[in-house]
Amino acid sequence: MRILVLIRQVLDAQETVRVANNKVDLDGRKLVMDTMDEYGVEQALRLRENGADAEIVVVAVGDARTQEALRAALAMGADRAIHVETDAALDVIALSSVMAQIARAEQADLILCGGQQADWDSQALGAATAERLAWPQVTWTRALALHGATLTGKHDADDGVESFNVTLPAVLSTQQGLNEPRYPTLPNIMKAKKKEIRKDMLEAYSVASRVTLQGVAVQSKERLKRILDGKDAPAAAALLVQSLRQEARVIQ
């Protein structure tokens, strides 16, 4: 079988957000593979380690730097990568068309995709790709196992956690809590340098975006930051309660 893991390179969550030219400035900033995608790469590796005879292909659409995220996935253990290189900002519906075309060409059986990407906060890629392929989908997976061609697991729904089963092919979205992603070892980082990253041009996929970014604003609320020393717990507690009652007026 073949597992496709869709990944995206995003601003490291620890970095502060800066704005330039009416968009979030990524020049010279630390970019990483989206953490939610790491759980997908890890889960693909675990499915294989648990007996699935699978080739694991990681796929990303993005500018030249996106290659770093693909390299990181290869260092974790993925077999090869496909990089659709473009500086254009695709909307998620257009992106899903690229992903579905690649899935068809690769004859994929399972697609794993992060539940939400930490740059555009979209949750739509997995669902839109599944629809284009006419495959079922399960979002926000928190446990996953493969028995033959049947996936079983748990996922988060609106009103609680559901247990599910679904027959391949399928798209699943991954998240924190699904597993603990491994760190690449030095030998695996060296090996990854020799693995194939196929480069495609976006033009080959003939997609067009209909949603465009018009501008961004960073809104951070100024906080009071009145921090007390708690060595004398009753005194600190009394001061805090007084502040919350009389100054902030948020408690009775």
Partner: protein, 316 residues
């Protein structure tokens, strides 16, 4: 027409339905507002929906008793096509965000996700939404004859229901077979005050030490304040608390008047779920914990000393 898919929970119309109605009224596009009710035994929901729309379409089918993204997207796309809807409004709940992309693909429509505002501007739909883990507000414009919009819960003030009820019609739909089988469900505990509706939230992280510590400190303080209980991902993953209490990127987003974070370091993923709270209070033993950067008030100290002292002070 504007098609509005009516969200409902346990046989009752959800608050988000009235918010969608407000979005529809303010969107600046013409055509009747049609409410679509999908589910099983949903007559009561339809009766309420009739007060927020110009007409109500009802697909009351046993197959629709349990949510499924393929069934929902298929139903919505059929109705949208037959009624030539130009705008489709869906609540941006977890489920709503799981099927709205499928609707967009079926209809070759544009998709606007989790919007805070949405308005027609020279034929394009312009919306504001949050990005970069809720740290950035971006303005986006969607072109195209049909746009699917998921609307962030709480972003719009609920529309007031009309006194007269609109007409209701049963609709016939071709539904695809269900391919994902749900074999079990761990329902959320609803005995406590709901996180999304609480004025005060008391939340605990790994810093409370143990499940017993969580019960004693977090539940103790929450009970004293009449507050809802929240937890970090780490606490939920450790099995100390149910998923329903999780606040953050992969859990719930809350915006109470006061958010009291106890033993929570303040990872970006957690802050993205509570950073818009009115007043943030942090109690943590580590003075360098990032939570103090977003706090209005804080105490650096041992939570096992501070929280009992707070409870005692509140009892006075």
């Amino acid at each position: 027409m504007i098609l509005l898919v009516v969200p409902h929970v346990d046989g009752k119309i959800a608050k988000a339905a009235y918010e969608l109605a407000a979005a529809a009224r303010n969107i600046g596009r013409t055509g009747p507002v049609t409410a679509l009710v999908l589910g099983s035994a949903v007559a009561a929901v339809a009766a309420e929906a009739a007060r927020i729309a110009d007409q109500v379409l009802i697909a009351d089918r046993p197959e629709l008793a349990q949510f499924d993204p393929e069934l929902w997207s298929s139903a919505v796309a059929q109705i949208a096509q037959e009624g030539e809807a130009h705008t489709i409004l869906i609540a941006a709940s977890r489920d709503g965000r799981a099927y709205s992309p499928r609707v967009a693909v079926k209809l070759e429509a544009s998709l606007l996700e989790d919007v805070l505002s949405v308005r027609d501007c020279d034929g394009a739909l312009v919306a504001e939404r949050l990005s970069f883990l809720n740290r950035v507000t971006e303005t986006v414009a969607a072109r195209g004859a049909v746009v699917v919009v998921s609307v962030k819960p709480g972003a719009f003030d609920a529309a007031t229901p009309a006194s007269e009820a609109a007409e209701q019609f049963d609709v016939d739909l071709q539904l695809p077979p269900r391919r994902v089988t749900i074999t079990g469900k761990e329902k959320e505990d609803t005995s406590r005050i709901a996180l999304a509706e609480a004025d005060v939230v008391v939340a605990g992280g790994r810093g409370v030490g143990s499940p017993e510590g969580f019960t004693q400190l977090i539940l103790g303080l929450a009970d004293q304040l009449g507050a809802a209980v929240g937890a970090t991902r780490a606490v939920v993953d450790a099995g100390w608390r149910p998923y329903s209490e999780q606040v953050g990127q992969t859990g719930k987003t809350v915006q109470p008047k006061a958010y009291i974070a106890v033993g929570i370091s303040g990872a970006v993923q957690h802050v993205s779920g509570m950073g818009k709270s009115g007043c943030i209070v942090a109690i943590n033993s580590d003075p360098n914990a990032p939570i103090f950067h977003v706090a209005d008030y804080g105490i650096v100290g041992d939570v096992r000393q501070i929280v009992p002292a707070l409870i005692a002070e509140l009892r006075k």
